[in-house]
């Protein structure tokens, strides 16, 4: 129960982020846009959704790294006999670190989402700065590359026959962030950018 509640804490901002990023959802935020001016424009909604999603991705990555450390101590956090058992996935020493480098996957997510948050938040604060295009390109590249990592980690889960809910949440955050970065990248330099 506590695990589900915790998972919801990460899922809600990612879901709101997704709604902000998805095209054609501007009308849902009309009420809020009077209070938050940044939601009045498409660019503003995209940046807000991106920042929210990346922040949630960062938080859930810290959570997976925390579970990794706890399992290494011998403790249980979300062990289960069902398919949903993040302890079994994160605690599996054959798969829980980057091959050859031995870095825990949670720490990789933690560092990556921190870098993405820096790029997205800085760009949202100064959208017409000359480095914004580079940040959007780099953010797109990192999140697209993340798809390969997600594919590898899902293949591990299939091999184990177990699913890690918190890892999946971080994967979803990466995919939503990728959608945000790609849309902002294609919008940058167009008329809509400065509307």
């Amino acid at each position: 129960m506590a695990t589900t509640l915790l998972l919801m804490c990460y899922a809600v901002p990612i879901l709101i982020g997704l709604l902000l990023i998805l095209p054609g959802t501007g009308s849902y935020f009309t009420g809020l846009s009077e209070r938050f001016e940044s939601l009045q424009t498409r660019r503003g909604r995209l940046f807000t959704g991106l920042n929210l999603t990346v922040l949630a991705g960062l938080a859930v990555s810290v959570q997976t790294q925390w579970i990794h450390a706890k399992v290494s101590e011998g403790a249980n956090f979300c062990a289960s006999d069902t398919i949903f058992s993040c302890d079994d996935v994160i605690g599996n020493i054959d798969y829980n670190t980057v091959p050859y480098l031995d870095w825990p996957w949670g720490m990789v997510g933690f560092v990556t989402f921190s870098a993405l948050l820096f790029m997205s938040y800085a760009s949202s604060k100064e959208p017409n700065a000359k480095w914004v295009k580079n940040f959007l390109n780099l953010g797109s590249l990192v999140t697209v590359a993340g798809l390969g990592i997600i594919g590898l980690l899902i293949s591990y889960e299939l091999e184990m026959g177990k699913l890690c809910q918190f890892c999946t949440m971080a994967h979803i955050a990466n995919i939503v962030a990728m959608a945000g970065f790609l849309q902002l990248r294609s919008m940058h330099g167009e008329k809509e950018w400065n509307d």
Partner: protein, 239 residues
């Protein structure tokens, strides 16, 4: 004097400070609420996985090393310790130590009334070293364990090795050297004594060098390691 204020640089540094703050809060949460234990083969580290089929006298069967551990172990005497030997059935030193290993597996078993400590379960991960004359097989490993005839261990019939059959030792097939590589084994035999919670309590130096277990300056055997480190009734009562 004219000062130029760079808004873009200010945004970058402000953002960097904010994100860095969030990052360090994350690091602090991890540092203060967890005490991570690395997986490795040094003393104090969590033992890596041990893969492969196992033989305990009734045919080869799949084996899960993690099932041997009690992750909630609190230092009590009722949880089993693990002794594991990395060996090759054609290695002369391993053949010579088979007698002692078999005796130890009986001496530190729960059925021995004279042993007042936690039961020690004995395992042997049998590999095939890349040395001429070291061709091995599951049949040879089984013959080494059971002390049965028909297979050659270190240029002699396996039935002629010292000691009795290793009825209390589980042999693991590591003919592909996967476990040996994972555990970073430099020579055979190498011994590991593992606590019930999966933490390595002692590791021999590899080959014939057993190392100094109790820091008395003398070289010791894996038996000294068990006597020195495994939880004992008398120690618990005295504590």
């Amino acid at each position: 004097m004219k000062h130029t204020y760079d808004d873009e640089a200010s945004t970058l540094s402000d953002t960097f400070l904010k994100v860095a703050s969030i990052f360090f809060v994350g690091i602090l949460i991890l540092a203060f609420t967890t005490d991570s234990i690395a997986t490795g083969t040094k003393e104090g580290e969590r033992a890596p996985a041990l893969d492969g089929a196992a033989y305990s006298g009734n045919g080869w069967a799949s084996f899960d090393f993690q099932d041997q551990f009690d992750t909630t172990w609190d230092g009590n005497v009722s949880s089993d310790w693990i002794m594991i030997e990395f060996m090759d059935t054609d290695c002369p030193y391993c053949v010579r130590s088979a007698d002692l290993y078999g005796e130890a597996s009986e001496a530190f078993h729960g059925s021995n009334a004279n042993w007042n400590g936690a039961q020690v379960n004995f395992f042997a991960s049998a590999t095939q070293l890349d040395i001429a004359g070291h061709e091995s097989s599951r049949e040879e490993i089984a013959a080494f364990r059971d002390k049965s005839t028909g297979q050659e261990c270190a240029s002699a019939d396996c039935a002629n090795r010292g000691g009795s059959a290793h009825d209390l030792v589980t042999y693991i097939d590591d003919l592909d050297q996967e476990n040996m590589d994972k555990w970073d084994i430099k020579g055979t035999p190498t011994y590991f004594l593992i606590q019930p919670d999966g933490i390595i309590a002692w590791v021999s130096n590899g080959g014939t060098d057993m190392g100094d277990v109790n820091n008395d300056g003398d070289e010791n055997t894996f038996i000294d390691a068990i006597i020195t480190l495994v939880t004992r009734e008398s120690i618990e009562e005295g504590a």
